[in-house]
């Protein structure tokens, strides 16, 4: 399964062929899942943080080079979890809540306990087109 869902792939191809210009994008967000976001997975960031608000990633991501971008600052999902959850996927979304999944990937499964911090260290989130 592709990391990017069909919609952004189609947008990129249409831009590449000159058919359409993509709409301006303000911010993209990251969230946590138990299970595949492109399958039957369940978003669980609200369990962990106490809020359904996802983590904005746009300003943390470097401008793409060689078809790839990585985060240049730590992305903190929570400094102290308020609830326990298992995270085995992350998803990129186009809205802080609701909205659509634009991409996702499986991660090394983490069991987040109450009081744990959950973050993505510098360079540990990469988005690429090869």
């Amino acid at each position: 399964m592709a990391a990017f869902v069909a919609a952004p792939r189609n947008t990129m191809v249409d831009w590449f062929t000159g058919k359409t210009t993509p709409a301006a994008v303000a911010t993209r967000y990251l969230t946590t899942y138990n299970g595949d976001p492109q399958g039957a997975g369940t978003e669980n960031i609200a369990t962990i943080t106490g809020s359904a608000n996802r983590i904005a990633i746009t300003t943390a991501m470097a401008a793409a080079a060689a078809g790839s971008s990585a985060n240049t600052s730590i992305l903190t999902i929570t400094a102290s979890a308020v609830g326990a959850a298992t995270v085995d996927f992350i998803a990129i979304k186009d809205a802080i809540t609701a909205g659509n999944t634009t991409g996702s990937v499986a991660v090394t499964s983490k069991s987040v306990g109450i009081g744990d911090s959950l973050s993505i260290q510098i360079g540990n989130l990469t988005i690429s087109i090869t």
């Binding site: 102290s80 991409g103 996702s104 983490k110 069991s111 744990d116 690429s128 087109i129 090869t130």
Partner: protein, 100 residues
Amino acid sequence: MTEAAKPTLHLHQSLITRHELLAAIALHARMVALSLDQHLTTDLSNLNFGWILQETARMADLAQAVIDASIAEQIMGGVATGKTVVTCDLTVVGPDGVTK
């Protein structure tokens, strides 16, 4: 995952991928090995050399089909590898400051 080229086959028309061709080669090889193992330890006179030659020729044909497919792939300029990739490593640290 890349998509295998579809070779032109003169045997086993239902086999359309190199993985299946290689699996078929392995199966034939195991059949020959099993037959040899059975007969060499019991009665060599019952060993069907004609069948072994036939199986060996079949394995050679299947292997050639894999080679032909690979050559065709190279002629066409290789296999497209373009793909979208997201990678992510999460860090969990307990209240005691120990990374989980």
